[in-house]
């Protein structure tokens, strides 16, 4: 494979990122001072409840924040470039080609008007084919000019090569009879199969990083496991790094090398999966673990009481303090800073 197995060098490094949405009630700080890194070939899980800023974080990385939202501060280093500074056309050549995204609901994320094979092929054509498979123009051709060149001069893959590649890709993501099914429309597939097609589309250009936004939330539990297994296999075979955003700590614990727990726009705890699961340092992480059902355990679940704070109107103290059963005076008055717990394991809490 073209990817080095070295896991040390960071592929994605987000540091001090602030994402804000101006609104009538004031600045909504969707992402606050978030820093984390993804090494090549690593699987990182970002866990948190809805509204904690997981999606805003992903969209910031992709440069796809819906308009009034913007990145106020911080940098996103990807493969040596700061994505925050890239122009829109430069960013477009990163999207899909180097960083691909898998969405939550494949039913709505696939275009109902196109055959699935065509959609997979199209994601190749956007970036002028696969560098390893054809000379192509290496994704240099963009915009209308590139579109015409690719169409008329047939740079990139020929139609036959393209179809062969699409069928191969569909087979690799576990779709039976790909040589027939590539001509079918999304609605003719089940949810799990649709998500496999989304993954095939995301993988078509062999990205270095795959962002998965709750990829299994819309699927049955049995299918969830299959899709996660597929992503794990892709990670193992191609070395594609994966950022998995989920609200399900159990999924993240099974699947990820390291975990970052987000609360109210901040990463409150991050570290290697084993360390976080065995020795959760932040009260919120512990709360998540306690509210997780365990098979065979008949003790009642303990929910985290209270509500997520208003991100437009944050107090001076720790944002979790109002819901925290351990909170002290200092928690309400002063925002906690990050403290190290162990090797690569840190938490944002006064009580450590």
């Amino acid at each position: 494979m073209a990817y080095p197995c070295a896991k040390e060098s960071a592929l994605l490094e987000v540091s001090g990122l602030y994402t804000v949405y101006p609104s009538a009630r004031g600045m909504v700080q969707a992402v606050r001072n978030v820093s984390f890194a993804v090494s090549r070939g690593e699987i990182v899980g970002i866990v948190g409840e809805s509204g904690c800023g997981k999606s805003a974080l992903l969209l910031s990385i992709m440069g796809l924040l819906p308009s009034p939202g913007r990145i106020a501060q911080g940098q996103i280093l990807f493969d040596g470039r700061n994505l925050v500074d890239l122009s829109e056309p430069a960013m477009r050549s990163v999207r899909g080609k180097e960083i691909a995204m898998v969405f939550q609901d494949p039913m709505t994320a696939l275009n109902p008007a196109h055959r699935v094979g065509e959609q997979i092929a199209e994601s190749l054509r956007v970036h002028g084919g696969v560098p390893e498979l054809a000379a192509g123009d290496g994704g240099q051709a963009r915009g209308a000019g590139g579109f015409i060149r690719r169409r008329l001069w047939k740079r990139g893959l020929s139609a036959v090569e393209e179809r062969r590649y699409v069928i191969e890709l569909m087979r690799n993501v576990g779709i039976p009879l790909p040589e027939h099914r590539h001509l079918e429309y999304p609605h003719q597939f089940s949810g799990g199969m649709q998500q496999r097609i989304m993954i095939a589309i995301a993988l078509a250009c062999r990205p270095k990083l795959l962002l998965a936004d709750e990829p299994t939330t819309a699927l049955d539990v049995t299918i969830q496991a299959q899709v996660l297994d597929l992503m794990e296999e892709i990670n193992r075979i191609t070395g594609t790094a994966i950022v998995l955003v989920t609200h399900d700590l159990a999924v993240a614990a099974d699947f990820c090398d390291s975990i970052a727990v987000m609360y109210a726009g901040q990463i409150v705890e991050r570290g290697p999966t084993d360390a976080v699961m065995e020795d959760p340092a932040h009260p919120y992480t512990r709360g998540l673990l306690r509210s997780m059902p365990v098979l065979g355990n008949r003790k009642p679940l303990q929910p985290i009481t209270g509500e997520v704070p208003d991100l437009a109107n944050l107090g001076p103290g720790c944002s979790f303090a109002p819901r925290c059963d351990l909170s002290e005076k200092v928690c309400l008055e002063e925002a906690p800073s990050v403290s190290a717990i162990g090797q690569g394991h840190e938490a944002r809490c006064h009580l450590r």
């Binding site: 999207r95 899909g96 995204m101 709505t108 994320a109 696939l110 008007a113 956007v126 915009g143 001509l183």
Partner: protein
């Protein structure tokens, strides 16, 4: 469609459905739409009428018994019937009405097609831009279209034709000048709905540009609605063309058009009803066919009925 020999065992049916050859899967889909249209009573009738008119219009020089402008004063106002050589009779100048009605269909269909093509391209293009980007462009177009819609269509076109004078191209431009507004409004509304769908986000996440998103992602999803609107509007355009020709503002008198034929025949209505009535029946029939076809397409292309 021809049936391939399928094992009688019900269990194989599913497997056979997925294992059908690739090319015929494509054909099957296309046939699916056609089959449903033919199963739709109104749609079938409309399609047959429209195809019949189109065929006759295309083959006009081959099937007309006389030249449409051949004057034969000796047999003027011949009533329709089999005893004379004029199946549908003649007009006040002895011109064969069948030939003139056939040639008139060419004018009506051409004006309708040209107007719909121009209107839909302009309207859909502007509507998609306005719906997708919004902002100043959208507001300007909104005011402009409101202005256009404030005039009654026919009065508006009569005004333009009075300035520009009769003529085929002038008529097409005059009709298109306001005809695009309906397409604009439809395309704008559909684009505003479609642009918030997740597949647009997914396309953006793949590095697709805005232009590609509009043309490749959004447009295919509204093609059906545009087709239906186009078919329905074409009937209207044909009526408009005939109205203007009736008033002498549309097609110049030397070209046979249904509207001007009705106008000519008006004076002989009591003695020779056929001169005005027969082109009128042709007009009504074609417009009926277009509307039936449009409604049939609307029912058939409903996405909920898509089965592949």
């Amino acid at each position: 469609m021809g049936h391939v020999s399928v094992p009688s065992d019900e269990l194989y049916k599913g497997a056979m459905a997925t294992a059908r050859p690739a090319e015929s899967a494509r054909a099957l889909h296309r046939r699916g739409t056609m089959r449903r249209l033919m199963a739709h009573g109104g749609g079938r009738t409309g399609l047959i009428i429209v195809i019949a008119f189109a065929t006759v219009a295309i083959l006009a020089p081959l099937i007309t018994p006389y030249a449409p402008d051949a004057v034969d004063l000796e047999s003027w106002l011949t009533p329709p019937g089999l005893e004379s050589n004029h199946l549908l009779g003649t007009d006040q100048l002895g011109r064969d009405i069948l030939s003139r009605v056939i040639y008139g269909s060419r004018v009506s269909i051409l004006v309708g097609l040209a107007t719909i093509c121009i209107s839909s391209v302009v309207g859909v293009g502007l509507g998609m831009l306005a719906g997708y980007y919004g902002g100043v462009l959208d507001r300007l177009l909104a005011r402009f279209t409101e202005l256009l819609l404030a005039f009654p269509y026919l009065i508006f076109v009569i005004g333009i034709m009075a300035i520009m004078g009769p003529g085929f191209c002038n008529l097409v431009w005059a009709l298109s000048f306001k005809g695009w507004v309906e397409f604009y409004r439809l395309a704008r509304a559909l684009t505003m709905a479609e642009k918030n769908r997740e597949y647009v986000d997914a396309a953006r996440a793949l590095g697709r540009s805005n232009g590609a998103i509009l043309l490749r992602e959004i447009l295919p999803n509204m093609a059906n609605s545009i087709l239906v609107l186009g078919t329905l509007r074409m009937g209207n355009m044909i009526v408009m063309e005939s109205s203007l020709s009736f008033l002498g503002l549309g097609i110049p008198p030397r070209i046979p058009a249904w509207g001007s034929m009705i106008a000519d025949g008006r004076r002989y209505m009591l003695g020779a009803w056929w001169v005005a009535t027969l082109p009128g029946i042709a007009l009504a029939l074609l417009v009926l066919g277009m509307n039936l076809l449009g409604e049939g397409l609307r029912d058939v292309l409903d996405p909920k009925m898509m089965e592949g």
